[in-house]
């Protein structure tokens, strides 16, 4: 019986593991910089890179990767000027940067397959429906978001009856009762609030039909055009790291904690679990983690245009490419070489 279980485990592992292909002659080492879009944490694209670094997958791909973290949005400029070669950002943000400022960014893998933000109310709040937002104080982080305006439209909310206030990035304003509805990053702030003793309920734009997308791994146009092989190798190693993280979440959190020293391990585990859940859907089950679908980018662009998230249109083919993914996956399985 134990032998049978062992055999089953081996078969399962073989199914999940990247398919091996014959090794080629080692390439000269290429130095690149990955700058995460925020502090060290269990954001799934960060985890992919942490794991690839930890397990030596970058080295196997003849890459020497310097991992850095941004705290003030500087990763976009660093990526645009090729001082960093890889970074992270939400699909919507990439579109906005390309459309409004002409920043030469390209998404190369769609890690988060759903909107990364929701709107939270306290679990004991009488707010049950979108319509209940009327007469309430509703927060927004930086500017009033397209997600919010879409929910206003979908919920038939009379916006004149909603008091909107900029609340920044501190969820304690919900815990403190200073706002009734607070915009959260779904992967971490609900847990932060729960740890403050404030469980929340979420209004998730995705469940209302809003075509949002989450974090992508991205690079710049210069890399795509001049060093596509480096992009492929970086993505291959990162996606293998990501597959390992999904297969062994405890080990992934261990690696995250090497970067997020002194932070709450359980919080990062919550974040990892939430992000892994958001990274998988029918598309990724068929095509592999990170899969990209042009129709979803078109839908996202049209949605952002409709609700003011974009001030002018953008060619979606200029903001994402799945050409690297297509080289990496075969029948939905990562080919390792």
């Amino acid at each position: 019986m134990r032998a049978l279980a062992f055999l089953a485990a081996v078969v399962l592992a073989a199914c999940n593991a990247p398919a091996a292909a014959p090794s080629l002659t080692p390439l000269p080492i290429e130095k690149v910089t990955f700058i995460a879009g925020f502090k060290p944490q269990a954001d799934l694209p960060f985890v992919a890179v942490y794991m690839a670094q930890e397990k030596g997958y970058f080295r196997d791909q003849s890459l020497e990767v310097d991992i850095q973290h941004a705290t003030s949005g500087e990763h976009i400029q660093l990526l645009a000027t090729n001082r960093a070669q890889f970074s992270t950002g939400s699909a919507g943000d990439v579109m906005k940067r390309v459309a409004s400022a002409g920043v030469p960014l390209v998404s190369i893998a769609q890690i988060g397959q759903r909107d990364e933000q929701s709107f939270a109310v306290r679990a004991d709040s009488p707010i049950r429906t979108l319509k209940d937002w009327e007469g309430r104080l509703v927060g927004y982080k930086t500017t009033v978001s397209a997600d919010y305006l879409a929910l206003v439209s979908i919920g038939g909310i009379d916006r004149a009856k909603v008091r909107e206030v900029a609340v920044g990035f501190d969820p304690r304003v919900l815990a403190d009762g200073r706002v009734d509805v607070y915009p959260v990053f779904t992967a971490n702030e609900p847990d932060t609030l729960a740890r403050l003793g404030i469980p929340v309920r979420l209004f998730d734009p995705t469940t209302f039909g809003v075509p949002g997308l989450g974090l992508t791994l991205m690079t710049n146009q210069e890399m795509v055009q001049t060093k596509p092989d480096v992009v492929t190798r970086f993505l291959r190693a990162s996606l293998r790291g990501l597959a390992d993280a999904i297969a062994d979440r405890d080990a992934a959190v261990e690696v995250v904690m090497k970067y997020a020293t002194g932070e709450d391990r359980a919080h990062h585990r919550y974040m990892l679990d939430t992000e892994i859940d958001a990274a998988q859907n029918d598309l990724t089950r068929a095509n592999g983690i990170g899969a990209m679908d042009r129709t979803r980018y078109v839908a996202l662009r049209d949605f952002l245009l409709q609700y003011g998230g974009l001030t002018k249109t953008v060619d979606v083919d200029a903001v994402f490419t799945d050409r690297f993914l297509k080289d990496l996956y075969k029948d939905g399985r990562l080919v390792w070489r």
Binding site: T81, R97, S100, A101, V103, T142, A166, V167, G168, R178
Partner: protein, 256 residues
């Protein structure tokens, strides 16, 4: 004479600014620097002209928050400095607390002010007050203690009360220090208001800068920074003019 010197100083400053702008303009055009990295001065100027109303409105809000914070912070600082100058034990008690305030990283605690005071003007005023507090406290304290001891003794022999000595000797002796503290604190108050506007505000130049940075919209970002600088320069000039008027008898008025 003073007016001519002021005009000369202004002219030199404008020429220097124009020279720097010209170099930046040539550099940004020659190397086709993208606007999300460094906008050309002409683009910033054009944007400032387009959004002059916005910048004026938001600048007015930041200025009002900074002014309120300045009055509050420097008022409390002067009151505490008076107490400290009057009593050594109180000086030893209060000064470490003042150092603590000075060493507190304002950016780190700014979000707390929103939690304590809400989303309105109050947290911005409180942060501006906090950031202006220490320079004025130190200047006031040193100024009040700077009165000539022989002059103090002389007034005491004439039967002057402590209040009279304070009013007619200590405060006048402290005035150069108070003006010096005001110059520093006014500009710090502007920075404090901007920091306050970064955490939970929907108005003000800090808010404009915050949103512009998020959108990589550097033309309006630099426009807001220039308006902030202009307010700071104007505020410093006002203090300088007041100082020259009040301290016309003092050597410092001649030197500034």
């Amino acid at each position: 004479m003073t007016a001519r010197r002021t005009l000369t100083d202004l002219g030199v400053a404008l020429v220097a600014i124009a020279a720097i702008a010209a170099v930046l303009e040539i550099w940004s055009r020659a190397f086709q620097v993208p606007s999300y990295l460094m906008p050309a001065p002409s683009a910033v100027a054009a944007r400032m002209a387009t959004d002059a109303g916005l910048l004026a409105r938001e600048g007015g809000i930041t200025l009002s928050e900074a002014a309120a914070g300045f009055v509050l912070g420097t008022g409390v600082a002067f009151a505490l400095a008076t107490v400290m100058a009057w009593s050594r034990p109180l000086e030893r008690t209060l000064f470490p607390l003042a150092i603590l305030v000075k060493l507190t990283p304002i950016v780190a605690i700014a979000p707390l002010f929103t939690l304590w005071f809400g989303f309105g003007t109050a947290p911005k005023v409180a942060i501006a007050a906090l950031i202006t507090f220490f320079p004025m406290l130190v200047n006031s304290f040193v100024g009040l203690r700077s009165a000539d001891l022989q002059e103090v003794a002389f007034l005491e022999t004439l039967g002057a009360s402590g209040r009279e000595i304070f009013r007619h000797l200590r405060v006048p002796s402290a005035l150069p220090y108070l003006f010096s503290g005001a110059r520093i604190s006014l500009n710090l108050a502007l920075i404090g208001a901007v920091i306050g506007e970064w955490t939970g505000a929907d108005r003000g130049l800090g808010r404009v800068i915050f949103v512009a940075n998020a959108n990589l919209d550097l033309t309006i970002l630099f426009g807001a920074v220039l308006v902030l600088a202009a307010i700071g320069i104007a505020a410093s000039a006002l203090v300088g003019a007041a100082e020259r008027r009040v301290l016309h008898w003092h050597p410092i008025a001649v030197a500034t």
